[in-house]
Symmetry: C2
Subunit: 314 residues, 2 copies
């Protein structure tokens, strides 16, 4: 396991020996990637750059954190990976669309993402906007298609679509991005920053965990515990991102370090200071770990993923 | 009823006396508008321009053609308007998002829409991109929410979400817009233009009719007939749009006449000639009318709507 921002905190290394996260992540990433590749394998469409642009952004190197959290939550409550895979893919489609649109010239104007030209640089702006639109739409197509095929548990799938849409739209991720764009160059308070981050990144990460728990058939107690777990790791993820934006290695991040400062963006690291940001990330992960104790040995992937969220180098 | 591009063709005025389309449209528009206004009435979100921008574009003057087609199809098969209203709204949300994104500087770069500044002119480009994203997401939220509340007919709602997503994404509307953007300034064949128009405009209009028939509980025979009806009026709509782009009144269209020529866009009118385009629109409507004969007197709103699609002045 790679050493990250919080390696110096011994409480976050306790169970590294008992569960091999690297192997787990690799295995899950391969399965998610295989499912993503299949999505437009046999697609018959006019020969435009639309699907190539969608695939360019989707199939580049990615952590697949949201799909893996969804699968891990599903398996923690006793569900099967295959059942939840369409939802796991849908979450990655939504995440990818959000990256494409966030990188656009009118937004963050980023030229590189995951160490490759961003979608609007590799294609053009119109294609990038449309590729994002199509990925978002494809997410709901995948969810609805899985639900209508399963037939038995249709209500659960409708609940999942609702939960994901709610987390992704004007009450979640898109609202967070709107706050982010609006706050550039402005002074914002730590409270406003926390709300921004909860919406922009936390909401979809939390929804990933909740979706897995829901489709895996979790009890209401399990769902509640995983909801809190998801919320805390979602917040921790953004705090860790802020730390990486100050301390990370550009070759690992795939973008320049300090790009947030260049955009005059407030970050947790700039408002709280680095040390306090690290302490907050660690606290959030401790609370997340507390919640999943009820799963006994089944909690291991979720526990390792919680640590990974703040220990990652990119 | 206003006189439009095809007024000179007497076969399209036969039943004007038996059904008052203007009153019907006004009544349905009012109900759809009331439902759209309610969507974010009590929304508690951070004070950003996101929801104002969504509402600016959504609540401007609009024909509400897709919602009304959805409701009319539902009622033709014996369903109730209230049942299908969330789907009718979702279709308008998707249509509105597509207009906002199509108007962006990287796409058609339009400054006016429905006689008002376009979303990116009234707000800014980032806000317009995000408002579109949020409207698209809200459509699926509305559909899933309606389905999960109904509980009895959950499979039907999943089928509706699938059908709409399929028509709106890379196999439908977004692909059509991609073809449209890619074809600017290029020579395209009439066959390619027909495919472009079927995807860009026809697919969502057809899906609107199909969704109403599906959620209204139509039989497989009724669903098939309404599917063909929807396909034909979808195609006729775009042909009529091309004719209006040449012959329409700018004060009715809310944008300059001839804007397609300015963008060097191929249109049916430019590839077929105006007279042939008018004949084709009339033929498509005749085929659509043939399909709905099975509904007896219940077909009247659908028949009048089919004529309206090519007789409208905007």
């Amino acid at each position: 396991m790679r050493k990250g921002a919080l390696e110096q905190n011994p409480s976050h290394q306790k169970t590294v020996k008992t569960f091999d996260l690297e192997t787990y992540l690799k295995g899950k990433q391969q399965k998610v990637n295989a499912a993503l590749v299949k999505l437009w394998e046999d697609a018959h469409t006019p020969p435009t750059p639309l699907i190539p642009a969608m695939q360019y952004s989707l199939l580049g190197e990615g952590k697949r954190l949201r799909p893996i959290l969804c699968i891990a939550a599903c398996e923690a409550v006793g569900g099967r990976e295959a059942e939840v895979m369409p939802a796991a893919c849908a979450l990655e489609l939504i995440h990818t669309y959000s990256l494409i649109h966030d990188d656009l010239p009118a937004m963050d104007d980023d030229d590189f993402r995951r160490a490759r030209p961003t979608c609007h640089k590799a294609f053009d702006e119109a294609t990038a906007i449309l590729a994002g639109d199509a990925l978002l739409t494809a997410a709901f197509e995948a969810l609805a298609d899985a639900g209508r095929r399963e037939r038995r548990e249709t209500l659960k799938w409708l609940e999942a679509i609702y939960l994901i849409a709610r987390a992704a739209g004007c009450f979640g991720m898109v609202q967070g991005q709107m706050m982010d764009v609006s706050s550039e160059g402005k002074v914002i308070s730590l409270e406003e920053l926390k709300e921004l981050q909860q919406l922009k990144t936390g909401a979809l990460i939390e929804a990933s965990v909740r979706t897995g728990a829901l489709l895996g058939g979790g009890s209401s107690q399990e769902m509640a515990a995983l909801g809190v777990y998801g919320r805390h790791i979602g917040l921790a993820f953004q705090v860790a991102d802020d730390i990486l934006n100050v301390e990370g290695k550009p070759e690992m991040l795939g973008k320049p370090v300090g790009s947030d400062q260049a955009l005059q963006k407030a970050t947790g690291a700039s408002l709280m200071g680095l040390e306090q940001a690290k302490a907050r990330a660690a606290e959030l992960i401790d609370s997340a770990l507390e919640e999943i104790k009820i799963f006994g040995t089944k909690k291991e992937p979720l526990a390792a993923l919680a640590r990974y969220v703040i220990e990652r180098e990119k």
